[in-house]
Symmetry: C2
């Protein structure tokens, strides 16, 4: 808006200058003055052209910047979308980890009667189908026992000694850890060989 | 845009005024050629100005269009993100529905021994924690028995007769149906009163 207002002002100035010029011509009829006035008009035009060109340059720069912003946003959105898609089940899977823990604890009972054994067998099938559903979404159990301790995926809660095994090797897993694709949802809680 | 067009008109009128003025001068003075050359230069400048102005207008239009595209993309991305976020757990929840079915079937056994009863009780707690995790993500059981049949959320697999109940009311639920927020994941399978 201010730019077009400036345009009008320029035109206004020009009109006033022309009036002056007209007076000069009519009163003195002097060629020198005429030439001077002519130069002034040229200069005015050049100034106006320069001004317009500067605006055009600005506008082109503005366009280039917006174009760059546009492309950046598109790229960022693409990455966001991919990440959101990749880890879409993270929230539910995180909530399922204690369910899996409880499930495993419940299945650790040793059934002595045939009836109890039959129930446990049925429930084990349910547990396996639950594990399959979570694996399909990318949930994986972190390997622990016998692996070298890795602070990125294991949490050492105690140290033990086993002279027959290497230092820094995981001796026992106290709680399962889980990874979603490449993201650790919960590290394994482990005991490490001193 | 209209303002710059008006500007052009203004410049145009001005040129015509100058022509009139120039004619007046030329009849009185001996600078006809000079004036004609001047007019030509002015016309050239005006043409250049008009050309630059047209480019500027184009550039401004181009910018406005890109700006509009930019805003549209931002809005669309926002909506996409919201939808992706809202239904993020849909895939895993869909896979969990048969797990829930099996779980319920396994829990329908009537335990006669104390051992079996204790195991079932433990497993029921696991089941409830699983249900809670799915509810937290927006999974809801579709109401069925006693509700009027709704083809949007119920699937009629048989008809029965109960003269004490209204026609079109659901008499029995044969398989649970589930909704994720406002999206039906699986309709209830029901028996409807004739």
């Amino acid at each position: 808006m201010t730019e077009t207002t400036e345009n009008k002002d320029l035109v206004q100035e020009k009109v006033q200058d022309d009036n002056v010029q007209a007076e000069n011509v009519s009163t003195e009829n002097d060629v020198v003055e005429q030439q001077e006035a002519e130069l002034t008009i040229e200069e005015q035009y050049e100034a106006k052209l320069a001004e317009l060109q500067a605006k055009l340059d600005d506008e082109e720069n503005r366009h280039l910047r917006l174009r760059a912003d546009f492309d950046n946003m598109r790229r960022r959105n693409q990455l966001d979308r991919e990440a959101a898609e990749k880890y879409r089940a993270q929230s539910l899977l995180s909530d399922l980890l204690p369910v899996l823990d409880n499930f495993e604890r419940a299945l650790q009972v040793e059934a002595t009667s045939e009836e109890a054994a039959s129930i446990v067998k049925g429930i084990e099938m349910v547990y396996r189908s639950l594990i399959e559903a979570t694996e399909k979404e990318g949930l994986q159990v972190i390997k622990a026992e016998g692996e070298p301790f890795d602070p990125n995926i294991h949490q050492a809660v105690m140290q033990e000694q086993d002279s027959e095994k290497e230092t820094g090797v995981i001796l026992r897993e106290l709680q399962k850890g889980y990874i979603l694709k490449d993201r650790v949802l919960r590290p394994s809680m482990v005991s490490v060989n001193e």
